[in-house]
């Protein structure tokens, strides 16, 4: 049947697009219609504040997302690594991310996952860490970001963003920043 595409360009075009659109539409347009949890915010999720959005923009600008993911996957080791003081973190669900654009799920973990990092370290820790990560964590390959620390407004915004990561679900056993 498809051998007609050998001679007729019009037929080849129609067939190539037809086949492509079956999968294309079924995997992009249909899923959000079927699975409503993609667009319904989690009960504890509030929209970003102005400052958090600014911090998020810095996160995008500096390419933090090339080294950090933001998803606790359905793997035991992920829930333990994102956990805190022996309590496993809940896995990430679609409803926690409905205000995210651009999404920051990420694909590579050169550094640890950040989906539950909010509240883990205090501002002072982040200040030192961004100035030079190796001062706090010897052996780290995270780049230094002195230009962020030197701009107080940018630094505060970035920290505000980091501190709200993963907070839509109430799961932390202790007060913030406790070791």
């Amino acid at each position: 049947m498809l051998s007609k595409a050998d001679r007729s360009a019009a037929f080849a075009v129609a067939a190539a697009l037809g086949l492509f659109f079956i999968g294309g539409l079924l995997t992009t347009v249909v899923p959000p219609l079927v699975d409503k949890s993609w667009s319904r915010p989690a009960p504890g999720l509030r929209p970003y504040t102005e400052q958090e959005l600014h911090g998020r923009a810095i996160y995008v600008r500096e390419g933090c997302w090339y080294c950090h993911t933001q998803q606790t996957r359905t793997l035991v080791s992920d829930t333990k690594r994102s956990g805190w003081r022996g309590v496993d973190s809940p896995i990430s669900t679609p409803d926690e991310f409905v205000y995210d654009s651009p999404h920051m799920f990420g694909t590579k973990r050169t550094g640890p996952d950040l989906s539950r990092v909010g509240g883990k370290y205090d501002t002072q820790w982040h200040r030192t860490h961004f100035r030079n990560p190796r001062d706090l964590v010897p052996g780290s390959v995270m780049p230094p970001f002195p230009w962020i620390v030197n701009d107080e407004k940018e630094f505060q915004a970035l920290v505000a963003y980091i501190q709200r990561l993963g907070r839509a679900k109430d799961w932390r056993p202790d007060k913030d920043y406790e070791k």
């Binding site: 498809l2 051998s3 595409a5 050998d6 360009a9 080849a12 075009v13 067939a15 190539a16 086949l19 492509f20 079956i22 294309g24 995997t27 992009t28 899923p31 959000p32 079927v34 949890s37 993609w38 667009s39 995008v60 600008r61 500096e62 390419g63 997302w65 090339y66 993911t69 998803q71 996957r73 793997l75 035991v76 080791s77 992920d78 333990k80 896995i91 990430s92 669900t93 679609p94 991310f97 205000y99 995210d100 654009s101 651009p102 999404h103 799920f105 590579k108 973990r109 050169t110 550094g111 640890p112 190796r134 052996g139 780290s140 390959v141 995270m142 780049p143 230094p144 002195p146 230009w147």
Partner: protein, 464 residues
């Protein structure tokens, strides 16, 4: 199979008669893409070095890892590989159609626009104007220009095909047509549609684009090139027309379903993950059809590999294609994915596809057509051979260390008793080897670029 022999590329359509093809557009695209290959190669080495010496250029925002990495990725994908592939298609489509390129003027304008886009991208990405989506990092105005350039390219290719002299269309033409058509939908999905969505829905569109940027842009145009140059440079007819049809039409159907395999175990519906996994495994069909066809074409011709540099690149590219597309379906399986996903295995896989396979095809084609377009001989065959060995040895070092390292890393991550930082330290030797392998690959790039430039500049001398 005799069917389609009228358009078999080995039937020297370009011999004898007064030169039909002027190839101005192809020349522009090739020369600029090769320059970017060299320049972006320096960026590649810089980011590989940053894994070993994280403080390198650390206080200059423009040179920080988070800004150079997207520059490397976009520079290699759009500045080098896609531009080179487009240049090559401006060469082969007119020849397979037996007519002139529809419009050289439009073609040259496309090349100029393409260069404006790439230079704009360098400034934007180093300045931190990052759109925030992988492989789609360019700011929106530049993305709009990409669409304009793509339409100009498509008009030229389809214009040429519409005015063709030979009714029968060789496989390469289908693949190039497919590339033009699919990109027209895939690119806007990843670059514009994402802006109207959020969260998981947006990620789903983003990964549909990321996956199909490779699968429905670089794969079809790369295979179209290989289908032309394997028979051509070995002077052997293609083994099977039927097999190439199976390969093409199954690719057209299967590829687009697989985007969600980038989020296996992640916060996206399980049933969508399962669909993506199923279709990822089905990808073995188009891949094996193509690879079998290429190998069968070479039957009895393998001895040619000893002398023929383009053929060396083409056949090792084919082997890398087979390996990449074996890995792909395997790490979409949930069990394997739990180990390798998000590790350094993934860049090992990505480079085998884009460097080991598709860049090798593009390099082979460049070595083959540059002397013919400029009507001369290659500056140095020995240097070309050296470029091959540097790239393949560097490439193998790069891929294998990242697989081993990535697998080990994933294994460690799955044991939460190991602190994360220890898994970082464990990878340092791997990153050092990657840097040195990268240096070897880069030497190959320098030899390749120098050889091409020297051929063009010294064309009158060598023609004697």
């Amino acid at each position: 199979m005799a069917q389609g022999s009228a358009v078999q590329p080995q039937k020297g359509t370009e011999s004898g008669a007064p030169p039909l093809h002027v190839d101005t557009t192809a020349k522009w695209f090739l020369l600029s893409s090769i320059s970017y290959f060299f320049i972006v190669g320096i960026i590649a080495l810089t980011i590989a070095a940053k894994f070993v010496w994280p403080e390198l250029l650390g206080t200059v925002p423009y040179f920080s890892y988070g800004r150079l990495r997207p520059l490397h990725v976009n520079g290699m994908l759009f500045g080098w590989l896609l531009a080179c592939d487009m240049g090559i298609s401006y060469y082969i489509v007119p020849r397979l159609c037996g007519v002139k390129l529809w419009s050289e003027k439009l073609g040259v304008a496309t090349a100029v626009l393409w260069n404006i886009i790439i230079l704009g991208a360098v400034v934007a990405l180093m300045g931190g104007y990052n759109h925030g989506f992988e492989y789609a990092e360019l700011p929106t105005p530049l993305e709009i220009l990409v669409v304009v350039a793509w339409v100009m390219y498509g008009v030229n290719i389809f214009g040429t095909i519409a005015t063709r002299k030979y009714t029968q269309m060789y496989v390469s033409i289908w693949y190039i047509m497919g590339t033009v058509l699919w990109t027209t939908f895939v690119y806007p999905t990843g670059n514009f549609a994402v802006d109207f969505t959020t969260g998981v829905n947006q990620a789903n569109l983003n990964w549909m684009f990321v996956h199909n940027a490779v699968g429905l842009i670089f794969t079809p145009i790369g295979l179209g090139i290989a289908y032309y140059f394997i028979p051509k440079s070995s002077n052997t007819p293609l083994f099977s027309h039927r097999l190439s049809m199976i390969g093409f039409w199954s690719l057209a159907f299967v590829y687009v379903w697989t985007g969600a395999h980038h989020m296996i175990h992640g916060p996206i519906s399980q049933w969508l993950q399962t669909i993506a996994i199923t279709f990822s495994v089905m990808l073995l069909i188009p891949v094996w059809a193509v690879v079998y066809n290429f190998f069968a074409t070479m039957k009895g011709q393998w001895h040619q590999l000893r002398e023929n540099v383009p053929l060396k690149f083409l056949m090792s590219g084919t082997v890398f294609y087979l390996l990449t597309c074996f890995q792909g379906p395997m790490h979409s399986l949930r069990s394997v994915n739990a180990i390798v996903s998000k590790t350094d295995w993934i860049p090992g896989h990505a480079h085998m596809a884009l460097l080991g396979c598709f860049s090798f095809f593009a390099i082979a084609a460049t070595y083959y057509i540059v002397p013919r377009m400029w009507n001369t001989r290659l500056h140095s065959d020995a240097l070309a051979n050296w470029s091959f060995w540097c790239m393949i040895l560097g490439g193998l070092g790069f891929f294998t260390t990242l697989w081993l390292g990535g697998f080990w890393q994933g294994w460690q991550w799955n044991n939460p008793a190991i602190p994360f930082i220890d898994t970082v330290k464990a990878l340092k030797p791997v990153w050092l080897v990657r840097f040195f392998s990268g240096t070897l690959i880069f030497s190959g790039i320098v030899m390749f670029a120098y050889n091409v430039m020297a051929t063009v500049i010294g064309r009158r001398e060598y023609a004697q």
